[in-house]
Assembly symmetry: C2
Homo-oligomer: 229 residues x 2
């Protein structure tokens, strides 16, 4: 391998949110998301001035690392996007797959607010992040509508997945309205392996201090049980 222009990058911050496991995390950030992530800067980058003017931007880019990739799994030229049922193979550069030559993720998020905490200095609260808790963040950039927004872009095979959304039915009461909204956003994306199509199966995911059990059919996701941990 040619080592010219290899670059070693260091986390400037970490994502903190209720997604303690990879399973269930929305696959792309969406406008209107209620899922909040706190961006906590590493001590070396906890510099108030580095955020000057950032609250003038409604959206930010995060460049982050797929740090939960299974270490032995190398990138492959083609991947099976889960939303396509796992049967179609697409080129890795035509997907947002985590298993890429350089395991970098990219998400646009809405900047909800800049918030000072007692121990972490200035933090950023962002909505719509498709990152799990503990994700290392390597860069934060302002979103510039005049260079970054292409609302009429053609979405290739991903177009078929754009409006995917299952209704969420509650077989048990939701613990509170915020958790309800967050879980509906998560579950409506059918967070189960693509190749599994078993309406009788009960799945579980963790969100904040809740363990959520649910089942999935072609028509809906049904919440069966919520256990507070």
């Amino acid at each position: 391998m040619n080592e010219d222009n290899q670059l070693t990058i260091t986390p400037i911050a970490y994502a903190r949110n209720g997604f303690s496991q990879k399973f269930g995390i929305p696959r792309q950030s969406r406008e209107g998301s209620v899922l909040l992530t706190r961006i906590v800067f590493e001590p070396e980058f906890r510099v108030r001035e580095a955020l000057r003017g950032i609250e003038g931007y409604s959206h930010l880019w995060l460049i982050w690392g797929f740090h939960q990739n299974r270490p032995m799994e190398k990138w492959s030229p083609t991947v099976r996007p889960p939303r396509l049922g796992g049967n179609s193979r697409e080129g890795v550069f035509a997907t947002r797959s985590p298993y890429r030559p350089n395991p970098l993720g990219l998400s646009s998020v809405r900047l909800a607010r800049v918030e000072e905490t007692p121990h972490e200095g200035l933090t950023l609260l962002v909505a719509g992040a498709d990152l799990m808790d503990g994700t290392p963040i390597y860069d934060i950039k302002p979103y510039l509508s005049f260079s970054d927004a292409h609302p009429d872009a053609q979405n290739g095979f991903a177009e078929a997945t754009k409006d995917f959304r299952l209704p969420v039915r509650w077989g048990v009461p939701a613990p509170d309205i915020e958790t309800q909204m967050a879980l509906e956003e998560i579950l409506s994306q059918k967070p189960v392996p693509a190749y599994q199509d078993a309406p009788e199966r009960i799945y579980g995911l963790e969100y904040n201090h809740f363990e959520v059990h649910f089942s999935v059919s072609d028509e809906a996701v049904t919440v069966l049980r919520i256990i507070e941990k």
Copy 2:
């Protein structure tokens, strides 16, 4: 420095275009750009299957490296964005400045076409890239309008720079229509250091095999001479 989650990334490809020097490169990619860049994959990543399905996308993301940063220049918490006249200091994470903790660039580009060349295999021709010739590219991702396009995003201080464009006057004939269009796109962005305001000064930039001399006033950029090298 905490070395957890440090990541060493390797170029998968390089940008090839007429920008042999940093000076003059548009500061952000823009829709409608006529500036073409060829993305040439490194031998290890020259794998036809890795691009399968990519031509279904009209736009792509490039994550690339600011490899021309002056090596001794460290990142600074604040920077002086050139378009603001160099007088205002903004936080580095509120700018697209090259001098950031991790020197990664991000550009959305239009995919003009996938093109096979005799020696380089499949290459991507993209429009709107704000990269200089030889820029290392670390990742290519499809642009997804439903997660990436926020046309109404608030642009912070960059809003003031959004429509910046000086008219370009030709004191000499343009060599050909393609070069003319490319140079007008480049020169209209006033590619001179922000702190210089000298209408009598003659600047030079290189584009393809041309050396271009021009002057800049508050009202226009004037092309004074074009030398074919």
